[in-house]
């Protein structure tokens, strides 16, 4: 199994480790619900080094990415990040990714751990077929990455940098410290404010020492605590964010996943545009209408639905649960589900077939949770 550069950190913090997409990762340190609440109320640090980091550099980097990604990227400025999908020819989703514009001819892409090798093959195939001049470099093993998320995070980061707290959402900055380069973006996957930081793998211990000066990760009452993948999953569910293998997949139409903002349907009309892979299939699907779409479900009672349980209306199956949990913030079971488009209207009464029990459910708009807006200082 692959280990991240933070492995010793996890062991020191008595993490319970599991196999995640071939990586030995912490599922939890103290408890999933406790860690979830820590992030919502204060802050948490996640090792996300297992995610793939791929650099595109060269004269045609922009054009190659326009072809690969569903979202328009050409108008991105240096220092900007954008969430996008990578589709297959049939309009299914190969992965969801975050694209960083480093320079005119240089981009960085963060991809899901489980899809890294598949995507690298795909990128290489498309590059070879198009004869674009681009070097594609997988930097995953050479680098580490953490997400620091929660309402107390930006203030703490202010102890290290005056610039980072001024970053807008989906912007990043490159900090050249004496002997290493850090990429710090105001992004995340929890529904909270915070940053994600990429660093050289061999400098992880040094970065953690630096962080320790302002953030005591060993203090059980600390403002920022280590958080495992278990809470990362319940946090992203509350925030209504899709996950590959659940809401996103090669067989799930990109337009059904609730991320239309990441699909630029007229991208090829643009002067510097490029038809992306899957665009024709998505146009066709748009014309014909989508049979099913992603919706939130609020579930009655205390029982948790599970992924793959059928969603019912009467005796008719009208959908399937894609993700579910007992929401620690709402203190009730929630689910995300692919449901017949006509039944996604918020308020629609549905049921989840949990085997021997039927769970009452109501369609609801995503997300389940939005971070409260910070009040400007009076």
């Amino acid at each position: 199994m692959l280990r991240t550069p933070f492995h010793q950190f996890h062991v020191r913090h008595s993490a319970k480790m599991v196999d995640f997409a071939g990586w030995e990762m912490p599922i939890l340190y103290t408890g999933i619900v406790e860690e979830h609440r820590q992030v919502r109320s204060s802050g948490g640090l996640f090792d996300v080094s297992h995610m793939g980091r791929v650099r595109f550099r060269g004269r045609h980097a922009r054009r190659l990415l326009e072809k690969l990604c569903t979202r328009r990227l050409s108008d991105m400025q240096q220092g900007q990040c954008r969430y996008s999908l990578v589709c297959n020819e049939t309009g299914g989703v190969r992965d969801d990714v975050l694209v960083y514009r480093m320079d005119d001819d240089e981009f960085l892409m963060v991809v899901n751990a489980s899809n890294r090798e598949k995507l690298l093959g795909h990128f290489e195939d498309v590059r070879a077929a198009s004869e674009f001049k681009v070097t594609i470099d997988d930097q995953t093993m050479k680098t580490g990455m953490v997400a620091i998320q929660g309402p107390a995070v930006m203030e703490r980061i202010g102890n290290f940098s005056t610039e980072i707290p001024t970053l807008k959402r989906y912007r990043f900055t490159v900090k050249n410290l004496l002997i290493m380069k850090l990429i710090v973006s105001r992004t995340g996957y929890t529904g909270e404010d915070g940053v994600e930081v990429m660093m050289p793998a061999d400098k992880v211990e040094m970065v953690m020492k630096l962080i320790k000066k302002g953030i005591d990760l060993d203090d059980p009452q600390g403002a920022i605590r280590p958080i495992g993948l278990g809470a990362r999953d319940t946090l992203r569910m509350e925030a209504g964010m899709p996950l590959y293998g659940h809401e996103l997949g090669e067989d799930i139409n990109a337009l059904a996943c609730g991320v239309d903002f990441a699909i630029t349907m007229d991208k090829d009309q643009d002067e510097r545009g490029e038809a992306f892979i899957g665009l024709d299939a998505l146009r066709e699907a748009q014309k014909n209408g989508l049979p099913r779409k992603l919706t939130g479900l609020l579930i009655e009672g205390r029982r948790t639905a599970r992924a793959d349980m059928p969603v019912m209306q009467g005796e008719k199956q009208v959908g399937v649960v894609t993700s579910a949990c007992l929401s620690p913030t709402l203190e009730r079971p929630i689910a995300m589900a692919m449901v017949d488009s006509a039944l996604c209207e918020p308020g629609t009464a549905l049921e989840v077939d949990a085997g021997r029990a039927r769970l009452e459910a109501m369609a609801t708009a995503l997300p389940f949770y939005k971070a409260p807006k910070k009040q400007p200082a009076a």
Partner: protein, 127 residues
Amino acid sequence: MSSPADRKYSDSHEWHKLSGDIVTLGVSKFAVDELTDITYVEMKPVGTVVEPGGEVGEVESVKATSEIYSSVGGKIIEVNPKVQEDPSILNRDAYEEGWLVRIQVEDTSRLDKLMDHEAYDKAHGAC
């Protein structure tokens, strides 16, 4: 931490503690730790007769739903109302406060086939 010596353990991680002809049944700490935060407990009602190896209820956690089995047959005479009210008791105290059901047993010999705490701990890496 070793498991309590005063009870017997099944392969499916239930503990059975015999007192007279009553078996108190719960889930081992090892299993609770594997399940992570327990979110829901539903046991069969008092009066239910279970066969040896039969199901006595379900426990749900953040991660999964698990059926709970009794290695002994008998009649459920008591269900712990507190854990149904507050399932997190199982995470805090799987062996005392976190008991699930009490079963009146006719034949206690089936308990002999179960693991003692040493065998259970050996099988599940407790130190």
